[in-house]
Amino acid sequence: MDSVLERGKASGCPAMSLHFAQPQPAGFYHRKASELNAGAPIWINDNAQGYWVVTTHELVREIFQTPEIFGSESIVPSAPDQNFVLIPTNLDPPDNGPYRKFLDPWFTPRAVRAFEPQIRAIARRLVEELAPTGGDDVVQRFCLRLPTEAFMTMVGLPIKDIDSFVDWVEAFFRGYGGEEALARGDGQQPEMEAALASLDTYMRGIFADRLANPRDPETDFFTALVNFEIDGRRITEEQRQGVSLLLIIAGLDTTRAHLGWLLYHLAQNPEDRKRVQAEPELLPTAIEESLRLHAMIMGSGRKVRQDLHWHGVDLRKGDMVYALNTAANRDPAVYEDPDVFKVDRKITGHLGFAAGPHRCSGMHFARAELRIGIEEFHRLIPDYRIADGAELTERGVELSLHRLPLVWSS
């Protein structure tokens, strides 16, 4: 008995058949997460080569905290042989350690606090341009732009290149979970390949510049990166590319998604919106609740590193497991009324930023961007709603709204 599907069936796991990369009406994947949680802790998905899907908070956290069993060689469950490398995401301990030691200091709460005035200046400018229009697609005009500009400013990339970055990241994500292949029907993802090649070329130029004309490594991220050593030797060009690719896609796509979900909720729930405006100290709590309820990482893939009998199922080396951050965050065993947005919910431990050695490095940066983004939005646009007739759809895998047309009085 070889395949995941056969072994799962033999253990009584319910089966599903879902391509997680398929775009859907907004809210589909979060509802799906809740449904899966209600069904069983472990499912089998008859998609791609077949893989396990895990839903409960307890088991999902265990997967994140047990890298010796659940390795990160591939984090895309339908692609056991990932065609790109993210560093340190795709490295298991101890190999990820030196990279985390290098990266984490750039994103500590202290470092983020020092950068907040710049985040606020960017957010304020974007909202000042947006407010007089009376309404627009805030995904394009705000949610995509704030994190991209803030990130590029922080790591010292020229803002004039922002539009290229946005395009490359979008193309990357259309391919990431297989959406491009799904749309094409031929299994190929040339746009994603082209985006990866463009990012590679661009970063090569940056590395060459920082090697030839070093800036202050204490404040210029890419000067620090090109000089970063492990065991007394500079990391390779390929390793630098791996780090850069991770930062670009992690920095740009994730916060963009969460800004969208926050505005989506607040546009439709004026009582919550008015409360966070009247009680500014409540905004961080509301943000945590959104990070919980609207977790935008549908799940994190892991590759099993050794045969193991695990919570009633037989795992084999090489099996892919999809640990659902979204389902864990709606686990009724942990959260009362798990599908309800409670703007003042007290218990805030959630897996929106995952856990274990790969827990999100940029979490403090993300939280600051979200808080400042909403504060600045509300400063000039306190009352807004979703435009009539808006067709709200979401991307799968890294869940984000394609568009969010809002209207307000200008």
């Binding site: 956290r61 905290q65 984490d104 500590t108 709460p109 202290r110 007290k346 431990g349 930023f353 827990r359």
Partner: protein, 67 residues
Amino acid sequence: MKLHIGADRCTGHGRCYTLAPQLLAEDDEGFVSVRGQSIDVPGDLEPAALVARGACPEGAISLTQQN
């Protein structure tokens, strides 16, 4: 009551010191300053200790009552 933060589990989310600042503090690297240690919890700060425990995504915080 004693509060213990397991160094093996703590990865520096910082939720504990953010939500229970009366009880826990941040170090330069963003970790809780008493990572890997046990501290005494004054009676009036027991609610804060419960908040800290619930807030940790890693489940790194444990509380024990002394008699």
